[in-house]
């Protein structure tokens, strides 16, 4: 197999395309750098000049509010110029190809492309075709990866739990369609979490998921037992159409996180969710707003993590 396309010849992060295949040192470097930026976001003047004069293009081929906004905030706090392109509504509908779009933006002197695309692997294709000084950051591609979300999840877990090597983490719900789950699983296994579980019905589990290094549970109560971290995945409404699930009500009953089910986890367990949440489908409000929930801090940490990623790739 070819060299990991996100690392340069020195093994440094040239692009961030996926957590899979990144060495532990690179992950730790990103988390440590994010830690140092966490202070910046609490200052009165929330800016550092690291990316002054650089242009960050937010290329969203798929709609997103939260991720795009946090990337924009992160880039601005690094003093970069940010250009948001909502491509779903423009050139793609005019028939321009993905690589033509990128070539045109590249001609406008881009430094970093933040890319979200509905097709798995699209950022890899772009990374293969950009100029050597340009960097690609994957902001979510199909079902494949959402590495900055995975990193902010890791950052959150490290913030509350310190050490990965003692943790039992459960990821609950639609693993089949989830790029968030894949990225987090790779991150946790790389950082040494001894037990990563995925919980959900067979219809929402991808084939051979065990090969990613996880234990599969179909029973929510058994799966949550003694967990330190519970990550709930968003269940999209369209999953009700394809004979994957009978109804949202039945899903909530079997796999929705309630206080009652959460009681199986450790007393100090944290509950995470990548958002946006479907209250009453995958998570009950009493849990989402309760003392175990770290869902809003996740969003805040997301800015520092994205600052770290952009400053590191731009420096390599």
């Amino acid at each position: 197999m070819a060299r990991n396309p996100q690392l340069n010849a020195n093994g440094e992060l040239q692009h961030l395309l996926s957590i899979e295949g990144l060495p532990r040192e690179v992950l730790t470097q990103i988390l440590d750098t994010a830690e140092s930026f966490a202070g910046v976001t609490e200052r009165e003047v929330k800016k550092v000049p690291l990316l002054r004069g650089k242009s960050v293009f937010n290329l969203f081929f798929e709609p997103s509010t939260r991720t795009r906004t946090t990337f924009e905030i992160a880039a601005k706090r690094l003093s970069a110029d940010v250009i948001n392109l909502n491509i779903a509504l423009s050139s793609q509908t005019k028939g321009e190809s993905l690589l033509d779009t990128v070539a045109n933006l590249s001609a406008m002197q881009a430094d970093i492309f933040v890319v979200r695309h509905a097709a798995s692997g699209a950022p890899f294709l772009i990374a293969r075709h950009v100029k050597p000084h340009e960097h690609v950051v994957n902001a979510g591609d199909g079902r494949h990866a959402h590495p900055t979300q995975g990193l902010l999840d890791l950052f959150t877990i490290r913030h509350y739990k310190k050490d990965f090597t003692q943790l039992t983490v459960a990821i609950v719900g639609d693993v089949l369609h989830s790029r968030v789950a894949r990225s987090l699983i790779h991150g946790l296994t790389t950082l040494g979490a001894p037990e990563v579980r995925v919980i959900g019905p067979q219809t929402l589990m991808p084939a051979g998921v065990e090969a990613l290094g996880v234990k599969v549970f179909h029973d929510m109560h058994a799966g949550l037992k003694d967990c330190d971290v519970v990550v709930m995945l968003r269940l999209q409404n369209e999953r009700m159409d394809g004979a994957l699930l009978p109804s949202a009500q039945e899903y909530f009953k079997t796999y929705g996180l309630t206080l009652d089910k959460l009681a199986r986890a450790r007393r100090d367990a944290i509950v995470m969710h990548p958002g946006p949440m479907n209250r009453g489908v995958e998570i009950d409000s009493s849990v989402a707003d309760g003392p175990h929930s770290v869902i809003l801090p996740q969003v805040t940490f997301g800015i520092a993590v994205r600052m770290a990623v952009m400053s590191i790739v731009a420096g390599n």
Partner: protein, 418 residues
Amino acid sequence: MSLHIKNGRVIDPASGKDAVGDVYVADGKIVEKVKAEKTIDAKGLVVCPGFIDIAARLREPGYEYKATLESEMDAAAAGGVTSLACPPDTDPPLDEPGLVDMLRRRAKALSRARVYPLGALTVKLEGRNLAEMAELREAGCVAFSQGNAPLADNLVLWRALQYAATFDFPVWLRAEDAALARGGVSHDGEVATRLGLQGIPAFAETTALATLLELARAAGARVHVCRLSTAGAVELIARAKRDKQPVTCDVSIHHVHLSDMDLGYFDSNCRLEPPLRSQRDRDALSRGLAEGVIDCLCSDHTPVDEDGKHLPFAEAEPGATGLELLLPLTLKWGEARKLPLAQTLARITSAPARILGVTSGRLEPGAPGDIAIFDPSAMLRVVPEALKSQGKNTPFLGHELPGRVRYTIVAGNVVHEG
């Protein structure tokens, strides 16, 4: 025009002959001996029947921007291919005698490989109404197929098989359950899970194959199963053959060498139909071909233009160029299985000839003067510039493969010299 090919290592897989000797051609046919006008010195080269590729898309009519008959017939000649069967999934599909007739005449005018069109089994390949098979047969179609178009309705399949069996027309189909395969782009397994690609489960092939075999048996139809991709399918075919069912099948040069691991980081050159499957499947296909469960190899030649491949994996067009890699990848397979060269070459000469029902694919006197002469030890470096095909898309780009075709001879005429 008469021809004397001297001093070559003459291999005739049909008879098992493998010895240094001479081959003579006169009036387009192989003869015992003749005072020849032209002599080719084949010292150090293998002289064997021209290759027969039972799946090569020429992209005409309709897809001339991907490839033309000229470019692909050149590729066939460069690859030593002297006969080829082309699937009906053109645009429009080969569902009318006029289209078939036109294709045959255009191909004939180029006077390179012999072209055997497969007719559409259903109108527009839509899987609803039967195409005019008798008319198409008259126009020159050798069998009836859906190409890569799905045939979702088992009632239509059943009637198509019954109708074809009525006239003893062979039916060539891929086995893939349309619903189970819908939206899938990769083998449903660990690699697809890791890459976040929608999978096509192995049982999409085995369930469809079990149905096809059952219906063919009931209808008494002669079926050729195209492009096996799973270990389970190899087992089902083995069982059907043990039960004396008249069934044949093929596998592509990609599927005996590659697995889904070769997708690497979303290499769209590995986007193929059927998808590359697990290493276990690949090994079973390679073994099945060696043991004769699978009858022959084909290139499944599908030239795709660059724009069709410079896309995210799932959006990329499936297919790979293959005519010029048929011999090298067959040799590579034979070497890996440690087979005598005659047995290796049988998979692209005598075996496909039997499936097509043609008299070529052998070097006996009286057989068509279709001959390939190649250097088995020369290496071919697979780079775009080295390929005559308009499609430069292949998972083997950058590889060094054994076997270079020096001469391709069709009906006694040298159509390629390299």
